[in-house]
Symmetry: C2
Subunit: 687 residues, 2 copies
């Protein structure tokens, strides 16, 4: 599993009944310690929870991590910092290919735009959010709620850039909570292995097991130019876990859809997921062929390629879960439990009406508006950082002139600081990738919306997609920090800019805003209203013995180190060991060893734990989470889920679903024996 | 709609009731003339049918056509001969880019491997086929039936290469008929416009309307080195059709799935179509990016690219039809009609048991075997002609040594002649495309089957997909006719050949044969048995007032020239005219004009009919069909269906589904005015 909020995990469980053993991504303020204790003989107490919470790090690019030394050293996955390594690379100095091994702390390098957050407190703001939008309609709700939330966040954090405040909707609107974080805007890369060591086996082995991946990296949090002080690290256990042992993951699962209604699931199954798959599959082919042109092309696009391959595999797994008749029947049955409660209890009907019918009624608007929203508003340029920056500069120049209540929420005062920082970070662009992404976006927009759509005509004029993409990438100055800074600081100049990236996004900005407004009024608004009624109905029927869907906020899962019986592979053991690596290394990509490993892997103990699986319930965003024993010691580093885990966005199957981690003994031995990184290894083991 | 047996068309109709107005792909021996007469005041008589049948041509690459002069001139689509134009092109002389305009008949060029067939007679062999496999089991049925059919075909045609005999299964096993054709193995390209004129608007306009495509071409049938004699041409109407006019299409629709059971439809909807879409979308991206590298790469891959783009659009349309709840409910209701008949009539139960349950029971085998069958057996090399030839040489060398009854059916005596001809045709290979296809196939096989699958291990050894593909394409001699001829004529040499293409397919031939055998025994056999029972049940309940699913055999459809009311476009008029072309031509690909058109299009009458739509029920394979008026004169040339027609593989919707044709006046005026091809235009209008 790699970076962003992409789904991992599986199938099957009565979500409405209290969760089964080992299931759940629990918030730290509602962790079922008693239940865990009953099953495993140990349940974490408040001190344990507090300690782990304050050593758990969110990397705001979509990953998790943990503090592992008193000098702010943080352990995460290689694939969580690979965008940083990519950004710091040049054609001559390729950190992905060669790894990054520092001789001393002074050589650590700032990851452009990367921020880290550590959760300090959670407080309930449900009443205030509800009160602030009590009289909102479906048409006004999205805008009004955005304004209320921005006000709460602004009030709590102000302009203090060392804090981050976020109002989180849990249980799909059942609760609203204010999460306050300590925030670190100076995150430096301290160690990275070669991509080939981190991602040994490549796409074929991704989401599979047995595995032999050294998917780890170290960054360091800095404050005022010095390593951050005052953090309480988790200790790394040099001996690792044992089969059957109770283990926890503390991390930030990105997004799950386990509480969706049947009509929403049908939409995902029949429309949304197939659309994403077709779109990503073509993009994947485009990236693969471009990477094949030459070494420099490969260097420029491979990060994007890995992201796309990871996403498409995850989403294909989600779709397959939803077309499984037994699984879908279970979802129908779960919903029926709530529908039956409504049918038999007049008090519930009086409170909520029929929110399931309300939700189903949104389907046709969702279907009619989806593609337009996607192509024009959600991701202009299919990930192009040039068009993304152009869009942000253009919108910020307009939104900053408005009163806070009227702004698009992503331009609220509380969020402008991060935005400014990412806009003004020194980060290289990759012209090969940029051209590819812009051309791709233009072609797919024309394909999906039709050549006669007004926005498509505005984008294309009398030109081809290829020419437009070339002109933007060759003609823009937005790849230069100075140009971005000038426009950021002089918003009045943006509207008249003749920078081709800004000109291109400006051509459709009205259409994009209109698409978003329609979406918010006809889809987001009514969906939110119906979902909140269902969430409250669920609390009325089941209490809070359920866990909320993942929201890229801190969660704790529990489970055991355990293999599984696979329908096609048979018995799968929970650990791999160093001795297995040589057998799997054919020498041909992606089963080739990085040079340092070819040279040194023979020096590892043959029985050194390599990777392991456990029954923890995780999903994309958990990448980089520490795997902890009951003492709160790190026995592994989560980096993937097995193939059965891919449907986990929609439900969890304890029999087949497994979390995949790098074993703690390998983390240390790899640093010492393969990389000679003695200082870091010592720092890590000292804690 | 382009070439192969790819689906076009739409949604909705009680298939089990007699077909509604304008629906149906009718065989010439069961055409509902009385019904057409009742609706339109004219119904074709036997003489009309015979005349049209014997001027209707099947191009055996998956297209339709018609005889248009007494000297064997044949009218079809450009996209039906674009593979020929591609094969005849070199880097210096690019017939796709420049078109092919002959000064004289002697300049006409043989299309390598292309054959044409004209249907002469149909006879019923149902009893013989059934009797020959009466005691077959699900395990033996596929092989046994293949042998019986090969025997009938061999007996009817012998080794006469001027005839083609094919036993066709109609109504999914409800009838078996022997189709006898006159066969032409020397088909020469006489005229082709530029690809950009034929496919103006490219992929964005494909399956759309209004259109401005000159998607026509002329080939000539030769016999013994001379233009074929004795054919009775259809006449081209220089004035064209009128709105509302009754029109027919006579052609060879490739394949429809309108008679599938609900369990089969579910499989297509949830498994098969999504798999194809993901696979083709990635291939599309790979081809697009490769075409973007340079002109020569573009030349080598674009034919394959257009084929993939056409297929994926068609298949996405099919999937969307199947996820439409109303449409699927109709299918369920249709099946219920037969199920109810079974439930209420003991005689039917006694004859057939419960064939729907039998069909549903095949699903899990189909699901378990599908990918293996696809990747190892169905299409080794994802279309690579080198691996295809290697596979055929290898298998032929084995199969030709067996008795006819034991052979794989595609190596029966009746089929060996065509196979030999295509193997020994002089046809260039495109190394860029071949490498791409082979690498793609290897990567997707590993992805789908897993790196640890024995066949995948056998394919890869210790190499990367890229290296294997490069070695095959650089090392093989199969691109040379002499090498293929030598191995074809000396089958004993094949097994020991060290040609890398043969070595590669040999590595998995046992696994591929085993996958096929399992598939035939657990999927094809039981499916055939259940389908035949359902077909007979359908005849018992409904008689033969229904038409059979398309099977790439000659069919007649009827309808009217008519626009439609589109959900998003509003009213769409039935014709486009020459005056509209200039407005749509932006100058940027794919809306640029070919040079001859830039120069001469102003000379066309502004009100010259360009393209038109009609309500005929067609599907992929109908490309190149003549659109005929009630006199049997050609008023158009079918080349596409509109976007609503894409679900037509599964059902037909008369309100929205439209056939798209080149208007006959443009066919002639284009030849005269744009291309100065006076001799051909005169030949065409003389008939």
């Amino acid at each position: 599993m790699r970076v962003l909020a992409l789904a991992v995990l599986v199938i099957a469980v009565p979500l409405l009944a209290p969760a089964r053993a080992d299931e759940g991504m629990w918030t730290f303020d509602n962790f079922p310690s008693a239940k865990v204790k009953a099953a495993y003989g140990f349940g974490p107490d408040k001190a344990w929870l507090d300690r782990v919470q304050k050593a758990s790090v969110r990397l705001d690019n979509g990953c998790s991590a943990s503090v592992v030394s008193k000098d702010g050293l943080v352990l995460t996955n290689h694939h969580c910092i690979s965008d940083c390594a990519q950004a710091l690379s040049t054609a001559r100095d390729d950190l992905l290919a060669n790894g990054f091994v520092t001789a001393a702390r002074k050589d650590e390098r700032i990851c452009p735009g990367l921020e880290a957050s550590i959760l300090q407190s959670i407080s309930d703001v449900t009443d205030r959010v509800r009160a602030g939008t009590a009289d909102a309609t479906a048409q006004t709700l999205a805008q009004r709620r955005g304004a209320v939330i921005a006000a709460i966040e602004d009030e709590a954090c102000g302009k203090d850039t060392t804090k981050r405040c976020e109002v989180v909707s849990l249980y799909r609107g059942g609760q609203f909570k204010l999460y306050r974080y300590d925030r670190y805007q100076d995150v430096r890369l301290a160690f990275a292995p070669e991509l080939q060591a981190a991602f040994f086996g490549g796409d074929p082995d991704n989401f599979n097991f047995p595995r032999y991946a050294y998917d780890m990296a170290l960054v360091r949090l800095y404050r005022d130019g010095q390593p951050a002080k005052g953090l309480k690290p988790l200790k790394l256990d040099p001996t690792g876990a044992e089969p059957g042992e109770l283990v926890f993951t503390s991390g930030h699962p990105g997004s799950t859809q386990r509480l969706l209604t049947v009509s929403q699931l049908e939409y995902d199954r029949d429309r949304r997921l197939p659309w994403i798959i077709e779109n990503l599959a073509q993009l994947r082919g485009t990236l693969l062929a471009t990477a094949g042109i030459g070494e420099e092309e490969d260097r420029q696009v491979r990060e994007a390629l890995f992201g796309v391959e990871n996403s498409i595999k995850a989403i294909m797994g989600q779709r397959l879960a939803l077309v499984e008749p037994d699984f879908f029947a279970l979802k129908v049955a779960e919903e029926k439990q709530l529908r039956d409660a409504l049918a038999t209890r007049a008090d519930l009907r009086a409170k909520y009406g029929d929110p399931f019918a309300e939700m189903a009624a949104v389907a046709s608007a969702r279907r009619g508006q989806f593609i337009q929203m996607q192509m024009l508003e959600s991701n202009p340029g299919s990930g192009s950082s040039l068009l993304g920056d152009a869009r942000r500069l253009l919108r910020a120049s307009v939104e900053r002139g408005k009163s806070p209540a009227d702004r698009l929420p992503e331009y609220s005062d509380a969020r402008l600081a991060s935005l400014e920082r990412s806009m003004l970070a020194e980060s290289p662009t990759h012209p090969v990738l940029e051209r590819l992404q812009i051309e791709y976006w233009l072609l797919k927009s024309r394909e999906y919306l039709g050549a006669d759509h007004p926005a498509v005509k505005a984008l294309f004029g009398n030109q081809s997609a290829r020419d437009i993409a070339r002109q933007v990438v060759e003609g823009t100055n937005l790849d230069e920090l100075a140009a971005r800074k000038r426009l950021w600081e002089n918003p009045a100049e943006v509207a008249g800019s003749n920078d081709p990236a800004i000109v291109l996004v400006k051509r459709i900005d009205d259409a994009a805003r209109a698409a978003r407004k329609t979406w918010e009024q006809t889809v987001t608004g009514p969906t939110t209203i119906a979902a909140e009624k269902i969430a409250r109905l669920r609390f009325d029927v089941l209490g809070d013995s359920v866990y909320p869907d993942a929201t890229f906020t801190l969660r704790l899962s529990y489970g055991a180190v355990k293999g599984w019986t696979d329908p096609s592979l048979g018995e799968v053991a929970p650990f791999t060991y160093a001795r297995g690596l040589a057998q799997r290394a054919t020498g041909a990509y992606p089963f080739n060893l990085a040079p340092r490993w070819s040279e040194n892997q023979g020096k590892l103990r043959p029985d050194l734990q390599f990777n392991l699986v456990s029954t923890n319930d995780i999903i994309g965003g958990n990448s980089g989470s520490p795997l902890l024993d009951k003492e709160g010691r790190i026995v592994g580093l989560v980096f993937d889920g097995n193939i059965h885990s891919l449907g986990g966005a929609y439900g969890f199957d304890a029999a087949l679903n497994r979390t995949v981690s790098v074993a703690s003994p390998l983390i240390i031995e790899g640093l010492r024996t393969i990389y000679g990184a003695k200082a870091l290894a010592d720092e890590l083991t000292a804690g």
